[in-house]
């Protein structure tokens, strides 16, 4: 038998390469698993109540923060 002599004594030639391939295939799976942003829906549905009871002074106090919030998040607002 000639074949075992050629490859059997040199595990690095094939086994080392396979180990690298295995690593390369595993890495994306691991990274994809941790890279996803999980957006989960709240338990309760968002209640729609259009009868808003709010004082104008509260609106004035929050106005500047709200403007910044809108400007910083164009996709959401």
């Amino acid at each position: 038998m000639i074949m075992p002599i050629l490859t059997g004594l040199r595990p690095g030639a094939t086994q080392g390469a396979m180990r690298r391939v295995k690593f390369l295939l595993l890495a994306p799976a691991v990274l994809m698993g941790s890279g996803c942003v999980q957006v989960s829906a709240p338990d309760k549905p968002i209640e729609i109540n259009l009868n808003i009871n709010i004082r104008q002074e509260v609106v004035v106090r929050l106005q500047q923060d709200v403007k910044e919030l809108i400007d910083k998040n164009p996709g959401v607002f």
Partner: protein, 131 residues
């Protein structure tokens, strides 16, 4: 540098590029979600600070509106906690701004009477508390 290290480095760089590309694409899809929804005429701004579906929207449309509203709710909750205000107060204040500056002619809005209206050339009539 040995061959193994080079391989690992190459894999890392490739993955980094792929991840960055995917993130950019995702941002492009999400980038103007609420503006696109308003412009479609199938969703509009409500006095409560959330987007609403005008008429009976498709399941896909409702999912898109819900996705935006879930994010809004998170931002409102965060700001309310920071300022010692109620979530509804932050949301209503935001609605004032959105009705004032984001709803353009031809787009829909809904105030406390619950009726969807289309904005004409005049500004949206704001609730009294908006100031």
């Amino acid at each position: 540098m040995n061959r193994r290290l080079k391989l690992i480095l190459a894999a890392g760089l490739t993955l980094g590029a792929l991840t960055a590309g995917a993130t950019a694409a995702y941002a492009m899809i999400q980038g103007d979600a609420s503006a696109t929804l308003r412009a479609s005429g199938q969703a509009g701004e409500q006095a409560d600070g959330y987007l609403g579906v005008v008429g009976s929207g498709s399941a896909d449309l409702r999912a898109q509106v819900d996705a935006v509203n879930i994010k809004r709710r998170a931002y409102y909750t965060d700001l309310a906690a920071k300022r010692g205000a109620k979530i509804e107060e932050v949301a209503a204040t935001t609605a004032c701004e959105l009705l004032r500056s984001k709803v353009v002619q031809g787009q829909y809005y809904r105030l406390s009477d619950g009726v969807w209206r289309q904005r004409d050339s005049a500004p949206v009539p704001l609730p009294g508390y908006c100031g």
